[in-house]
Symmetry: C2
Subunit: 504 residues, 2 copies
């Protein structure tokens, strides 16, 4: 068998596997958007069968044989070639998936299914004691998982690597810590600033149907292609890129809050534009046809939501339109007042409701906590006290209950340890990439004032989207911005923006 034939067979196999993954994607989307309540058991059975088939096919020894054959050939000599990239990333995934013993996978599935049910009760009843034993079990299993994967440095690296391939605590901790210190200072400045923002402006009556129309017109202006995508309603918004020509985003509408759906749509559309920008027509089913990492994915959603969607220039263009649509609530509001309202910063308990500035503090607290839990530096029983004392230090306010504190997120109970940092990585990459875009496209912001967003979209497609997994996240950042990941662009962006809004 020639190396070319081995490569072709490999691609055929991974393409078929990806068709099953995307089939499961459609089923998952349908489950959240359409499925009648009584269909849940059937859906679980369908998805369970598909997951088993996908795992079995991807971990079959034949995949390993084909990879070895190609790895020894000249096909992978140029590390940036399509073949080399695909083989590098498939090898990485194959080794990861074959390293996990089936018994451990099953145990994690079993424990996290049960724990999530108790977590829901615990959060509802503010009863940490109910959840505590599960934390113990889950972090024990996470240590076993890290051991199975193997790691250098601390075990957390093995888990982080699953969500952000190539990232390590060494690489990100220094950046995170500096960011945290800067944000604590920024929050104090805002709290003591002479000017205030009026959040109540975006908490008036906003007709849901008009919100939808406005959201779709924004999505279209940003470049979301409705002939290759949809916007629907779900309780928990998400984006799902099934494959070439089919990328779907969801949102939720609140008739008393304009921000939720509006910025939610821009966020998910940011993910969607990434999915649409990858060359899936050519590379679907291989790493070249897939996103670089969760962090880079989040950088796209956050850029469109914040750097674009919360900019003065964006609203110069869209505010008159919003005023016409929501006459009663926005009729007497000025652009500056509205711009202030959508950029309102104030400490709050709940991560998913946090503003752009405090959001990262929520993440960094969790990153520190989960590392310490995994290393054994904190015991599960100490989680509430530890959480609350850090929260006081970073946000300046007291946590009033564990439900509004350490019990608020599903992640730990679901076994998602190592996932949180990708949110802040997304914000950091977002600011660093956007600063570069502004440098390279000198009139970028004034284009926004004219409602022209496709220049940025095309720049992102060229610099990020089209490369798929050609570069790992850190290498991509270096290549596009000329520098490794840094706290500076995000800190500079925030300081400049909030200085303007709050007048400090």
């Amino acid at each position: 068998m020639s190396e070319r034939a081995a490569y072709d067979e490999l691609v055929k196999k991974t393409r078929d596997i990806q068709l099953l993954v995307s089939t499961a994607g459609v089923l998952g989307w349908d489950e959240r958007v359409n499925m009648p309540r009584s269909g849940s058991q059937l859906r679980a059975d369908q998805l369970g069968l598909l997951a088993g088939m996908i795992h079995e096919q991807f971990t079959s020894p034949r995949i390993g044989e084909l990879l070895s054959k190609i790895e020894q050939s000249d096909m992978v000599k140029d590390p940036e070639s399509v073949e080399a990239v695909n083989v590098r990333e498939l090898r990485y995934q194959y080794d990861k998936q074959t390293k996990l013993p089936k018994s451990l996978v099953e145990e994690i599935t079993k424990v996290t299914t049960l724990s999530q049910s108790d977590w829901m009760t615990a959060r509802k009843n503010n009863d940490f004691k109910l959840f505590e034993p599960w934390l113990d079990k889950i972090f024990g299993l996470m240590r076993q998982k890290a051991d199975a994967f193997g790691y250098t440095g601390e075990p957390y690296n093995a888990l982080l690597d699953e969500y952000e391939p190539g990232a390590t605590t060494d690489q990100i901790s220094q950046v995170f810590e500096t960011l945290r210190n800067e944000l604590v200072v920024l929050l104090k400045k805002i709290a003591n600033a002479p000017k205030k923002t009026d959040k109540s402006i975006v908490e008036r009556e906003y007709n849901v149907e008009l919100q939808r129309v406005f959201g779709e017109s924004v999505a279209g202006a940003l470049g979301f292609d409705f002939s290759a995508g949809r916007l629907d309603v779900t309780t928990h918004p998400f984006c799902s890129g099934f494959g070439p020509g089919d990328t779907r985003v969801t949102t939720r509408y609140n008739p008393k809050r304009l921000n939720d759906a509006l910025f939610g749509i821009m966020h998910e559309v940011g993910h969607g534009l990434y999915e649409m920008g990858i060359n899936k027509e050519k590379y679907f089913g291989t790493p070249m046809g897939d996103a670089a990492s969760l962090g880079i994915h989040e950088s796209q959603s956050r850029m469109w939501e914040n750097q674009v969607g919360r900019s003065k220039e964006f609203w110069s263009y869209f505010f008159p339109q919003a005023q016409r649509m929501f006459k009663e609530s926005l009729g007497g509001v000025t652009l500056d007042q509205f711009y202030g309202a959508v950029n309102d910063v104030r400490p709050s308990y709940i991560r998913v409701e946090a503003d752009e500035a405090t959001y990262n503090l929520h993440i960094l607290l969790r990153y520190e906590m989960e590392r310490a839990l995994l290393n054994g530096d904190i015991k599960p029983k100490d989680v509430p006290a530890e959480w609350n004392s850090r929260f006081k230090k970073y946000f300046g306010i007291e946590v009033d209950s564990d439900s509004n504190g350490c019990l608020q997120d599903v992640h730990w109970g679901a076994g998602l340890v190592g996932y949180f940092p990708t949110y802040t990585l997304g914000n950091l990459y977002s600011a660093q990439l956007f600063a570069t875009a502004k440098k390279e496209i000198h009139d970028l912001m004034s284009r926004f004032e004219r409602g022209e967003f496709l220049t940025l979209r095309n720049w992102l497609k060229d610099k990020i989207h089209q490369h798929g997994q050609r570069y790992r996240a850190n290498a991509l950042c270096q290549k596009v911005t000329g520098k490794p990941l840094s706290h500076e662009p995000l800190v500079a962006y925030m300081n400049e923006k909030y200085a303007g809004i709050y007048g400090f």
Copy 2:
């Protein structure tokens, strides 16, 4: 291996296969209801992969081995036992699917894909010559298919059997021919009758959103469970029962026609009630968890659409509600006028727009034509002349173009030969079953006047739905009605109803 173990393995396998079938069902539903235009190639690839896997798994020699093992055991001694039914029908399907050579399946797929494209052009341009060579090819392939399946009597039996297992031309032709003659007489009576119906009543303005609400309230009253199902919009309405707890129907709304969506919903809900009435919680993935035949399926949809939905008693209950909803169009209309309008009979060219009485004539014409084409008694080039002369004889009007004649249906171009009769079988079974229901539930019609439809629904569940494929269609008919399939109940029902409406 014990027989019980063989049976359990067989059920496990067919259950997993059915999970894949139902997964393809969700993808197919999504394709018609939601999918963005550009997603069609990906969807075709997903469905193609699933179809291949389903075929491969179901025709694997292991299925044959397991069947043989069980067939020799005591497990199948009682022919009505769950095990005996499942083995009987799985054997039947297995033999059918393994008899077709792969090359023939592929050839049929290739030819019908191409021919459908030319059929669309031919219909649009009224150009029979473009379609003629495809008819020749397709009926040639259909003869090969019949040969591969094997048959007694004429080759058409092999094709008919695929859609209506156990049915033969011997069984149905006599019934069909008598029905045809009776319908021709009935049409003449109606044409010369003293009373007329005013169809324009249902062709006024009917707000689409109100149509939806009205349609859903009717569907709910008939017993459609919206916690285990949905109603959506598609160009070509259909019903899809994925499995336990998830049955979905679709319709299309026309703001100038009340009938389309309203009776369309009752039709699809009839299919849906059948799917919901089968004991899928217990039998999903085996023949006991599946519908008896296309003919029986159609009997359920037609019963709710016609025997129930076009009855005077149904509208005694629902007409006041309809009047309140559609004040402007129905305000001055009497119940009798409305009842006449929804039962308007008049010869027309297009099958899918035909009324209850003429519909079967459309089908019978096609049944005669496709049998003759398969037997070689008609050549493809003679189809238009042959079609038009029969049409004149049965309907009393001249066909004005092939687009309104022999080119109107997708079926032949799609290789669906032997399918048409199931529509008329559905109407016949529907009338025969309903006549029995009326006998066994003495106040059935007056229950409709009170808006009480669940008695009929439960009767159908008990007599038909819950049995899955325990009985073949003809045996089921005999068991429930005490008689084999007959033209009499349908002819009697129509004569009585139209005598009342048209006063002959």
